[in-house]
């Protein structure tokens, strides 16, 4: 077993885990933060995307001990506690950018990361290219792309 310590959604957390424990398992099974999903478990679908020190990372392809001391944000920590939804979450709701919702947490975490890297004015081509690592099997992406463009703009005002 190995001791891990990190900050998740602003709170210091610790755990004693098998070295094989992936970050996504630590979040879901030890911290019970089940908003981060496991889709493909092969680093392709992006349902497990979280922010590690401000960068989008696939939590299924990272051991918990690799992010020792890091600052992690999951979908649960994106909006202020008891506050309104994060502008990107609100844009997904407003634009009906989900059907089953399974990919949505990863989509939103990736979308916020895209805005951080590419700015608040995103064209469709950029969004589609940047979403290469996030797979949705329901929507055909159309409303997701719309939501991200709207969410990016809304983040500038927030």
């Amino acid at each position: 077993m190995t001791a891990v310590a990190m900050t998740v959604n602003g709170k210091a957390v610790t755990g004693d885990v098998d070295p094989r424990t992936l970050l996504v398992q630590f979040l879901r099974e030890h911290l019970r933060l089940t908003g981060t999903h496991v889709g493909c478990d092969t680093s392709q679908c992006g349902a497990c995307v979280v922010h590690v020190d401000g960068k989008a990372v696939k939590a299924c392809t990272t051991f918990a001990w690799q992010v020792q001391g890091a600052n992690i944000t999951t979908i649960e920590g994106l909006a202020e506690p008891n506050g309104p939804l994060h502008p990107m979450q609100e844009a997904f709701r407003e634009n009906h950018a989900l059907q089953c919702g399974y990919c949505t947490p990863g989509m939103i975490m990736s979308a916020v990361d895209i805005v951080w890297r590419k700015g608040n004015e995103l064209d469709e081509k950029t969004i589609r290219h940047e979403l290469e690592g996030n797979i949705c099997r329901c929507t055909g992406y159309h409303n997701i792309v719309k939501a991200i463009a709207a969410g990016a703009k809304a983040m500038a005002k927030a």
């Binding site: 190995t2 098998d18 070295p19 094989r20 992936l22 478990d41 092969t42 680093s43 392709q44 992006g46 995307v49 590690v52 960068k55 989008a56 990372v57 696939k58 392809t61 990272t62 051991f63 001990w65 690799q66 990736s110 990361d113 895209i114 890297r117 940047e130 290469e132 690592g133 996030n134």
Partner: protein
């Protein structure tokens, strides 16, 4: 996944010592090949030697006429580096085509080159730019480094610490990504540095990355896409799988080489 112990050395020397001492040990850099492979139980190292705590093996700088990139430098850093964009823009572009944004946040140049996946992008740049691979023991020319599928000249306790890329006059990389995995079905890197012309191909060869000497000879006469008009390579030695036949891959090598030269001379 099989059980393992992990180690977090803080120097290259400690890491090399662990590699030499421990049986079935593997280095972990970004982990975006090793961890998925371990999950599938295609790899079951007993010891994981994590490189993330080692100082001084990441970062990008110009030294004289060479671009020096540390082994632990992540794809996103190469893709967005003003130094790389100014000196070898084709290398920054190539790094920006690897995987997806989340993969580029973790994956490293050293990990990719040491793994020598036949469909990886970086081997094409290392060979196509005539880079030098600098390890804890020696300097290895790109032409001597790649030895076949997932095989390199690295000895069991040898660790890549950095790469030295010579600044070239012209270079470009053209990639035909597998639409599902985004790995290179075929990728061609071309460069011109004085009279040294290189055409390196990834994805196509059944033995990993290789140079196309016939194309290089043609480009020595004149470095332009027209010099490659009608030229092809034989399908012998090309990979063949559900993603593309050997003939298809051989055809793509010609098409992408012409496009790469056109981009390099544009």
């Amino acid at each position: 996944m099989y059980e393992f112990k992990f180690h977090r050395p803080t120097t290259v020397r400690q890491a090399a010592g662990l590699l030499a001492r421990q049986e079935e040990a593997k280095l972990l850099a970004g982990g975006h090949t090793l961890i998925p492979t371990m999950k599938l139980r295609l790899a079951g190292p007993k010891h994981i030697i994590d490189m993330s705590q080692i100082e001084g093996i990441s970062g990008i700088e110009m030294k004289g006429r060479s671009l020096v990139i540390g082994a632990l430098t992540r794809h996103v850093e190469v893709a967005t580096s003003p130094i790389v964009k100014e000196n070898i823009p084709a290398l920054a572009e190539l790094a920006g085509l690897i995987g997806d944004p989340a993969v580029r946040h973790r994956g490293t140049i050293g990990g990719s080159v040491a793994n020598n996946d036949p469909n990886a992008d970086y081997p094409a740049a290392v060979l196509g730019l005539g880079a030098t691979v600098i390890t804890n023991k020696r300097r290895i020319a790109a032409d001597d480094f790649f030895k076949g599928l997932f095989e390199t000249a690295l000895e069991p306790d040898e660790i890549i610490v950095r790469f030295q890329f010579p600044k070239v006059n012209k270079a470009a990389y053209m990639k035909f990504p597998n639409p599902a995995s985004r790995f290179a079905l075929v990728g061609v890197f071309v460069s011109k540095r004085g009279s040294d012309i290189r055409v390196a191909v990834t994805g196509a060869g059944s033995n990993g990355v290789f140079r196309v000497t016939s194309f290089e000879e043609a480009l020595k006469k004149r470095f332009g896409a027209k010099s490659l008009d009608g030229m092809t390579i034989p399908a012998d030695g090309m990979s063949s799988d559900i993603h593309g036949s050997a003939e298809y891959r051989a055809h793509l090598v010609g098409v992408l080489a012409r496009r790469a030269v056109a981009a390099a001379t544009a």
